[in-house]
């Protein structure tokens, strides 16, 4: 137990997680995107608010500029503006228990904050799905009414545990029918018809991004891992918002080049010899407190896999006729890690634990994302039982700093590190 006592009492020395050299390029990409968003707003070009889980690629097919309120809310969180915006939304009557992204967005639009603070312009329309949560639907229903813009909501049936192939095909039929409804909606809005050529081009670029993302993830299996969450948490941006453009592809190619160089040199994201514990972090991070992950690093713990960031990169099947492509797309909307059934989620986690040499798991029991928290206690028990590694169910919130209590969080982190240490022994 002497090791545990050391962990508990001594302040660990600071360990610096090394970002990939090309990570810095993201800032320029985001600035250019924001500039374009501003131009779109000023010249009243077509734009759309979309959420995670929405087929953003279709926006590019129609030449509509996508805006992402969740992404904007992250920016507000990371830049420490979210609390003020959340409290403003609560002053309008929205409950403290509602999603902090949503309230950040309500506050941001009411106060008209700048894009670099997480502001976002009024769109031509809003589009979301219920595949991840009801919140995505309710959020845009509310904001579309407030801003008096049309809303399109994809209804994605839930593939619960035990959903068979035949039923899955019926679900896909339904989603494909909604794609065609959406094409009609877009045609009315933009006056443009969908062209298969453009669709395939966007899909190809989107898939290229995902292919590169998968390759990046493949390298994360290496010990030491060349890439930590400190890189990937922001690097998802091109998949979230730029799947129809080349800029993200070039960025990911640059990241991969850095990674390959690191691996060739036998170096990792952590300084030599400092990577002690490899972790999975499940859920959206606490954007206002990214320091949390640096503090973990001080104990030698590095987040090596995040279902959250991996989820944004599902591979598409290319070269299919439109209808077949849409079926493939529909399947991806129904069946991705963030909406896996509990059975599939457990299987997925356990496979990742093996493939990525994981020593422990942090499950973010996130007040703002209740659907992702459902089943978490079963997931924890299963991992502990089947894989014999520590799991920390961490109560917190993605964008509301009021939920992060420094002292208790530090204690829990230390206790978790102790468990990791004991388990290693």
């Amino acid at each position: 137990m002497s090791g545990s006592m050391e962990t508990k009492n001594a302040s660990p020395e600071r360990v610096r997680v090394r970002n990939l050299p090309s990570t810095g390029k993201l800032k320029g990409i985001m600035m250019r995107y924001m500039l374009k968003s501003k131009i779109v707003e000023l010249f009243r070009r077509k734009s759309a608010w979309v959420t995670a889980g929405f087929p953003v690629e279709i926006c590019y097919v129609y030449g509509v500029h996508p805006l992402h309120p969740e992404n904007s809310a992250c920016i507000s969180g990371a830049r420490k503006y979210s609390l003020e915006l959340i409290e403003h939304a609560e002053s309008l009557g929205f409950s403290r228990d509602l999603c902090s992204y949503f309230k950040t967005n309500v506050g941001a639009t009411e106060k008209g904050i700048k894009l670099k603070q997480g502001g976002i312009g009024k769109p031509t329309f809003m589009g979301s799905t219920n595949t991840i949560c009801d919140t995505h639907v309710k959020w845009f229903q509310i904001q579309a009414r407030r801003m008096e813009v049309p809303y399109f909501g994809f209804d994605i049936p839930s593939a619960v545990a035990g959903t068979g192939d035949a039923r899955m095909e019926e679900y896909i039929d339904y989603v494909v029918a909604q794609f065609y409804d959406f094409f009609d909606f877009m045609e009315d809005l933009t006056g443009k018809k969908i062209t298969e050529k453009k669709f395939q081009e966007v899909l190809r670029k989107s898939d290229k991004l995902c292919e590169l993302w998968h390759e990046i993830y493949k390298y994360r299996k290496d010990v030491p891992t060349p890439v930590a969450f400190q890189d990937t948490l922001a690097a998802i941006f091109p998949m979230v918002l730029l799947p129809g453009l080349d800029v993200g592809i070039k960025y990911y190619q640059a990241l991969l080049k850095d990674i390959k160089e690191r691996v060739a040199e036998g170096k990792g994201a952590m300084p030599p010899g400092k990577e002690k514990y490899r972790l999975i972090f499940e859920g959206i991070p606490m954007w206002y407190r990214i320091k949390f992950f640096h503090e973990l690093a001080n104990y030698g713990a590095v987040v090596t896999y995040e279902p959250y960031t991996f989820s944004f990169g599902p591979r598409k099947r290319l070269g299919l006729p439109l209808d077949e492509s849409l079926r493939d797309f529909a399947r991806l909307m129904i069946d991705v890690p963030y909406n896996y059934s509990l059975e599939k989620r457990i299987e997925y986690f356990e496979q990742v634990i093996d493939e990525y040499n994981i020593d422990g798991v942090i499950l973010h029991s996130n007040m703002s994302c209740r659907p992702s928290c459902s089943g978490m206690l079963d997931l924890k028990k299963s991992i502990q039982r089947d894989k014999g590694i520590p799991v920390w169910v961490m109560d917190c919130d993605q964008n509301d700093p009021r939920s992060y209590a420094e002292g208790p969080m530090k204690n829990r982190m230390e206790s978790f590190i102790e468990l990791l240490e004991q388990n290693k022994e």
Binding site: G93, D97, Y171, P371, G375
Partner: protein, 357 residues
């Protein structure tokens, strides 16, 4: 011997008539607010819907005689908790039914696919043939029940009907075997017809928001002098405001779909406008002035909707109070005081408004 099929849905999402046509008695799981949620809390965090946790507790701990359980899509709690029920609830048959989010033609086509699938599965599982005749008979029986509930409902505004009496009649409608239910509702109608007139010391209100699943909360309103004469709750008007279309010919499944997309829509559906339309119409139709909007703690769909709904009703000139409530049967005196103050303010405003006319 009555064969019961239990269901867990977010509002009024389960197509009971298929179960009835299969010779089963639908039983809506409502949980028990008097029992702690410890059994469900082994699997679900305390910040997840307390009513849904109570329903899981009922399924985990009750001495049930159910032939099986259907979970019907409504909100995230139904989708995401299904897997937990599948893992931990001891039942021979657990079925997932997806009641669509939207009311578009695509959604309606899909609704039919889901209904047909459920019908086929029930036929195989319970070794019965679900014919159109049986479905029409189930629809007729459902309409008989809904018609009686409508009759009871209209008496709320003219007779002395405590909130708990109305609530209990609605609970019976979703839990009691159908044949017994009809005679019970007939007795209730006779009883209510003989009641005194609407009491002068009570104020009529419309109740909206999260579904109320225990009678004590209805008592709190009565204690504060508030009588619910209109609502859009699932244990309430959502269940009986519309009859299921019964044309001389056609497909009974189409009628069931038509019914589900025209009932008072809950906050879990898209688009949101029909819900507000129903509330506005009810206020006007019943010449009401006061609205109680309430939200069960952690019930997200209604919490999201409440701001827009409350503001829209206020803009129309109605007196509205919005409350958040815990899932608890305990009398809450501070809540009662707020309700009494609301009533006093609303009735004073109304008198002043009329004296100005």
């Amino acid at each position: 011997m009555v064969k019961r099929i239990a269901y867990f849905d977010a509002s009024h999402d389960f197509p009971e008539q298929i179960a009835m046509a299969a010779g089963l008695e639908p039983y809506k799981i409502l949980g028990n607010v008097h029992e702690p949620n410890d059994p469900a809390d082994q699997y679900l965090q305390s910040f997840l819907c307390p009513a849904a946790r109570s329903m899981l507790t009922e399924a985990l701990t009750g001495d049930q005689d159910w032939e099986g359980i259907v979970i019907a899509h409504g909100c995230d709690a139904t989708n995401r908790f299904y897997d937990i029920w599948k893992r931990h609830v001891d039942t021979d048959f657990l079925y997932w039914f997806y009641n669509p989010l939207n009311d578009t033609p695509s959604a309606i086509n899909f609704f039919k696919v889901e209904l047909k699938r459920m019908k086929d599965v029930f036929e195989r599982q319970f070794d019965v043939s679900i014919t159109d005749d049986k479905l029409w008979a189930a629809i007729k029986l459902s309409n008989d029940i809904k018609g009686r509930l409508q009759e009871l409902s209209t008496m709320r505004a003219v007779k002395d009907i405590p909130n708990r009496d109305y609530f209990n009649a609605c609970v019976q409608a979703v839990q009691m075997p159908r044949k017994e239910l009809l005679s019970s509702l007939d007795e209730t109608i006779n009883d209510w017809k003989g009641r005194d007139a609407f009491p002068a010391d009570k104020s009529p209100v419309l109740l909206t928001g999260s579904d109320v699943t225990y009678v004590e909360w209805m008592d709190t309103l009565d204690d504060a002098g508030l009588r619910v004469v209109r609502d859009d709750l699932s244990i309430g008007e959502r269940y009986f405001a519309r009859l299921i279309p019964h044309p001389s010919e056609g497909d009974p499944l189409d009628s069931i779909i038509q019914y589900h997309v025209t009932i008072p829509r809950p906050a879990t559906k898209n688009p949101p406008e029909p819900r507000l339309d129903y509330l506005m119409n009810a206020m006007e139709e019943s010449n009401l002035n006061m609205v109680i909007s309430q939200n069960l703690k952690f019930c997200e769909p209604y919490a999201f909707d409440s701001v827009f709904t409350v503001n829209a009703l206020k803009e129309k000139g109605y007196q509205v109070i919005h409350l958040e409530r815990e899932f608890s049967p305990t009398k809450d005196m501070s809540l009662r005081t707020r309700l009494e103050a609301f009533r006093e303010m609303a009735t004073t405003n109304r008198v002043e408004k009329h004296s100005r006319l």
